[in-house]
């Protein structure tokens, strides 16, 4: 490969205010016409060469955005034929097995789109796959933002918008899932009816208002249609615009690395590189969704048949993103209070309404809780490596684990039949697992993150192993170390470590005097729990000392103490690095790294 270093950082172009590259360039007529009226050039000057950082994990949100665009395009196509009506008609389309059956107009028009409109099945299936991908990509994007700390100041508002987008996308998805009025979606609506009814005090009223009377009524599908194609997409569109506008205003976060600071952004200009990559990626997402729509069947409503309130199929499952709520509803033990002629049915309300409320409230509050615990009021534009926020990472993994357990519980019948296990045993196991598994996941993840911090510290201090095991004359084995590049050493040590808040301290972490009181005991205890176990990164002095030792041990390999381990005290930074200090203990310690 031709790897010619051509230039180094100090000479890289800093784009600021974009001075005109060639002052004599005239605008083409049409652009000038537009500029005379809407001032295009001002926008272009500020934005045309705006820099975006490049990383695969920044594409997750893009997948969600492009799926949304595909949803809008395919959704418009579907509305051309879909009839949101629960009026009963006799099916007279080309699907022979249902000919002559009494079905709703909604169901009949869904079959019409699937069998009689050319390309209708393709677009219906693209629409459904895109909906599943939209929620999935948004969820994974949110996890990326969480684990890298991209929600920190100044991006808390954008995080809240994101939480709103995710919750609305669940509503949009569920409303759409219910429109074809097939047996599966009707079963879903039966569940929604039970869920709304279960709300204490106002449940019956809410049910009659939503369904226009007693379940199932004949007005729900027209109402869901309005929610699905107008109300929710309208709000989504507005929120997505705000979400993107804030990304532009804040400029994108970037991963730490040489030359990347809190005050700059390193990447490719919008025009042409980023625009080409993003635009090309839209076509790839679209293309894959079209391939899925053409090759992978989804929601074959003609097999389920029209909705019949007296029928249900075994193995009924909601779309994936409702699986965790479904699981919670399945595993909750029977809980109902009967007082004074009223019924409070907790075994529907708590897992249904309550659990969703807990998730979205918790997500919304998280940036503010973390800020309160760490006392961190700085702006952050460099992302955290997940290991450098061990407690946050562990909490995130614990949350994912709990979600996964609820989600698995939503398929307890499938697990039971596929693996020939006892259904009730699985259910009881899951009742425990949703609480215990996250605790285990938290502990394991936190240990892993701390170990990675230790490894980083080790590597920053002593460099990488050189891969040569040397046996000394007295039988000791050792491995020499090679110094790290300046760039890698910087990457391993650039992160800002927060100090644990002390109770009663009158200044915050960055030394600013507090206006009122100090840190409460509770806050100090939380801060200690949150930050107290972090492995101190090596200081400049420690690095210098290690480098000095290292130049010794370059010769010391023969003495058998080139690769001594570092004990716990050294790792925690209480004692200085002890690299190379254990001459003669080579055999037991060789190659041993925490």
């Amino acid at each position: 490969m031709m790897a010619n270093p051509t230039r180094i950082a100090s000479t890289s172009p800093v784009l600021e205010g974009q001075p005109a590259p060639s002052a004599n360039r005239e605008m083409p007529g049409a652009v000038k016409w537009a500029d005379d009226r809407i001032g295009l050039a001002k926008i272009g000057r500020a934005g045309l060469r705006k820099v975006f950082p490049d990383h695969w994990s920044f594409l997750l949100g893009e997948i969600a955005l492009y799926s949304f665009i595909v949803l809008l395009l395919t959704g418009v196509f579907l509305t051309i034929w879909f009839k949101p009506s629960m009026a009963e008609i006799e099916y007279d389309g080309s699907y022979q097995l249902l000919k002559g059956m009494p079905v709703s107009e909604a169901f009949a028009s869904t079959l019409n789109i699937s069998f009689d409109v050319r390309g209708g099945l393709l677009v219906r299936q693209i629409h459904h796959w895109a909906a599943l991908l939209f929620v999935a990509a948004a969820t994974v994007h949110m996890l990326r933002v969480f684990f890298t700390g991209a929600f920190r100041k100044p991006r808390e508002v954008n995080w809240l918008i994101g939480v709103g987008l995710l919750s609305l996308s669940l509503i949009a998805g569920f409303a759409g899932y219910s429109l074809p009025d097939d047996l599966l979606s009707g079963t879903g609506l039966r569940f929604v009816d039970g869920l709304i009814r279960s709300i204490p005090i106002i449940g019956t009223w809410a049910e009659f208002f939503v369904f226009g009377g007693e379940y199932p009524g004949d007005i729900l599908i027209p109402r869901l249609y309005m929610v699905h194609i107008l109300l929710v997409p309208g709000i989504l569109l507005g929120l997505i615009s705000a979400h993107l506008a804030l990304v532009v205003y804040h400029k994108h976060t970037q991963y730490p690395g040489p030359g990347r600071t809190e005050n700059n952004v390193v990447g490719y200009p919008l025009f042409p590189v980023y625009a080409a990559k993003a635009g090309g990626f839209f076509f790839i997402v679209f293309g894959f969704l079209v391939l899925m729509g053409g090759l992978f069947q989804i929601n074959p409503v003609w097999i389920y048949g029209p909705y019949d309130p007296a029928k249900v199929t075994a193995g009924s499952q909601p779309d994936w993103y409702m699986g965790w709520v479904e699981g919670a509803i399945r595993i909750i033990p029977a809980l109902e209070t009967h007082i004074l002629g009223t019924t409070w049915t907790w075994s529907v309300f708590l897992p249904g309404v309550g659990l969703m409320g807990v998730l979205f409230t918790g997500l919304g509050l998280w940036p503010f809780i973390e800020q309160w615990i760490t006392g961190d009021k700085r702006e952050h534009h460099l992302l955290d490596r997940p290991r450098n926020a061990p407690t946050r990472t562990a909490l995130g993994v614990a949350g994912m684990t709990s979600y996964a357990m609820f989600w698995l519980a939503g398929g307890n019948d499938i697990i039971a039949t596929r693996f020939a296990l006892d259904l009730n045993a699985i259910t009881v196991f899951m009742r425990v697992a949703v609480f215990v598994a996250p605790v285990i996941a938290f502990i394991i993840t936190k240990r892993l993150m701390l170990s990675l911090q230790r490894a980083d510290r080790e590597r920053a201090l002593h460099g990488s192993e050189d891969g040569v095991i040397v046996r000394s004359p007295d039988g000791g084995y050792s491995e020499g170390h090679l110094p790290l590049s300046h760039e890698e050493q910087f990457l391993l040590t650039q992160h800002l470590q927060h100090r644990v808040l002390e109770p009663g301290a009158e200044t915050d972490a960055s030394g600013v005097r507090r206006k009122k009181g100090g840190v409460s005991k509770l806050r100090a205890r939380l801060s200690r729990w949150y930050l107290g176990h972090d492995i101190a990164k090596p200081s400049a002095a420690e690095l210098a000392a290690a480098a000095h030792q290292g130049s010794h041990s370059a010769h010391a390999v023969e003495d058998g103490h080139g690769a001594a381990g570092v004990d716990g005290a050294g790792i925690n930074g209480i004692e200085g690095p002890r690299h190379g200090a254990d001459a003669g203990h080579g055999p037991e310690r060789a190659g041993l790294h925490h």
């Binding site: 270093p5 051509t6 230039r7 180094i8 950082a9 172009p13 800093v14 600021e16 009963e88 080309s94 069998f115 050319r118 299936q125 079963t187 039966r190 039970g194 869920l195 009814r197 005090i201 019956t204 208002f209 009377g213 009524g217 205003y249 030359g259 600071t261 809190e262 700059n264 952004v265 390193v266 990447g267 080409a276 990559k277 090309g280 839209f282 076509f283 679209f286 293309g287 079209v290 053409g294 090759l295 309130p309 249900v312 509803i329 399945r330 595993i331 029977a334 809980l335 109902e336 002629g341 019924t343 075994s347 529907v348 700085r378 702006e379 300046h486 760039e487 910087f490 992160h495 400049a540």
Partner: protein, 354 residues
């Protein structure tokens, strides 16, 4: 180049290694090898050239392939048009995407640029200016001197929300006690209504059922209803009729006349969230809801033995009419289906009741 409004004043805070600055730029193979550059260029052009071919194929499939033609993949059959559309359309879009991205990756210059950030906040100047402007506006509005204006405006706008909310009161009928009695608390079952087998819509005679057999049934008067009324009635009236050995089941004193020699009828609507229950275990007399796995013991007045449901399945009292067919003795004695707030659940059967 620099400016004063950077997000943080001390970007090097806590650094133990000085920032080495951006890594040196490494030229790509396509930058330095003319042949490689030309090959990448040709590959991109070929990808884009394939798109019109696929687009034409898509249109040909639209008009030339019959709508009901299918492709047999052995394990499954798939609609030929749908597969054709997906392959041609999907590949065309993917090729456009790959071509453009490849263009950006290997032909566009890949030198990274650096842009300085601005603090998200406004400058102190802007803040002071906007507060001044605000104060000027407040002064001009005279609310400082005429203090009731703001309160009065807020109150007026606030109250005007009430009519807007009241406008929604017709979204559905109001479930007052009387309406609940006519809807949630009643089904179309009544004395003498025939039980019809839900498969063939024929009345059921006791001798048609063997011990252990379960059939789904509907009230005969359901046939008189259509459209929404039929759905609403069916969503509550659906029952299961099951025959068990009378000696192997527990029949409480109060329900000893509710069955016909071991034939019992229960609501088919789960008391949890209302799914129609369907999975029958002949040996244990257990009935399992396929939605959330609530399990009811039909040999013991339908009490819950497992799962999230909290109330026993309501039992329908049945008997035999003069012609020897199964009929209802009355409506259900308690409301069927999932719980609601105003439901008086004191009358439900609890394990051990007589």
């Amino acid at each position: 180049m620099s400016h004063d409004n950077l997000p943080v004043k001390d970007p090097d805070l806590g650094h133990s290694v000085p920032d080495p600055g951006l890594e040196p730029h490494v030229e790509r193979y396509t930058d330095v090898d003319k042949g490689a550059g030309n090959r990448a260029y040709a590959a991109i052009l070929m990808m884009l050239a394939a798109v019109p071919v696929l687009a034409i194929a898509f249109v040909v499939i639209y008009f030339a392939v019959p709508r009901d033609a299918y492709i047999d993949f052995g394990l499954l059959k798939a609609n030929a048009q749908n597969v054709g559309f997906g392959l041609t359309g999907g590949l065309a879009a993917v090729l456009i995407g790959v071509a453009v991205i490849q263009w950006a990756r290997v032909l566009m210059s890949d030198e990274e640029s650096v842009e300085l950030r601005h603090a998200a906040s406004s400058t102190d100047d802007d803040r002071a200016a906007v507060m001044g402007l605000w104060d000027d506006g407040v002064e001009q509005s005279s609310v400082r001197r005429r203090k009731l204006l703001l309160g009065a405006l807020g109150g007026a706008v606030g109250i005007s929300l009430v009519p807007a909310v009241v406008l929604l009161a017709d979204m559905g009928p109001h479930p007052t006690a009387r309406l609940r009695e006519e809807t949630l608390e009643r089904t179309i079952w009544a004395e003498g209504i025939l039980l019809l087998n839900d498969e063939n819509w024929l009345p059921i005679r006791p001798e048609m059922l063997e011990v252990g057999q379960l059939v789904n049934a509907q009230p005969a008067n359901l046939r008189d209803l259509h459209g929404v009324e039929a759905h609403q009635a069916k969503a509550k009236a659906a029952i299961i009729v099951v025959r068990m050995d009378p000696n192997s089941i527990k029949v409480p004193e109060s329900r000893k006349d509710w069955h016909v020699s071991g034939i019992l009828a229960y609501s088919k609507i789960c008391t949890h969230v209302g799914c129609p229950i369907s999975l029958w275990e002949r040996q244990t007399h257990h009935l399992l809801c396929p939605c959330h796995q609530s399990t009811f013991d039909l040999g013991n007045s339908g009490v819950v033995v497992f799962g999230p449901a909290a109330r026993a399945l309501p039992q329908l009292p049945i008997t035999v009419n003069a012609d020897g067919y199964l009929v209802a003795q009355s409506d259900f004695t308690v409301p069927v289906g999932p719980s609601y707030f105003e439901r008086d659940s004191s009358q439900d059967f609890k394990d051990g009741d007589q």
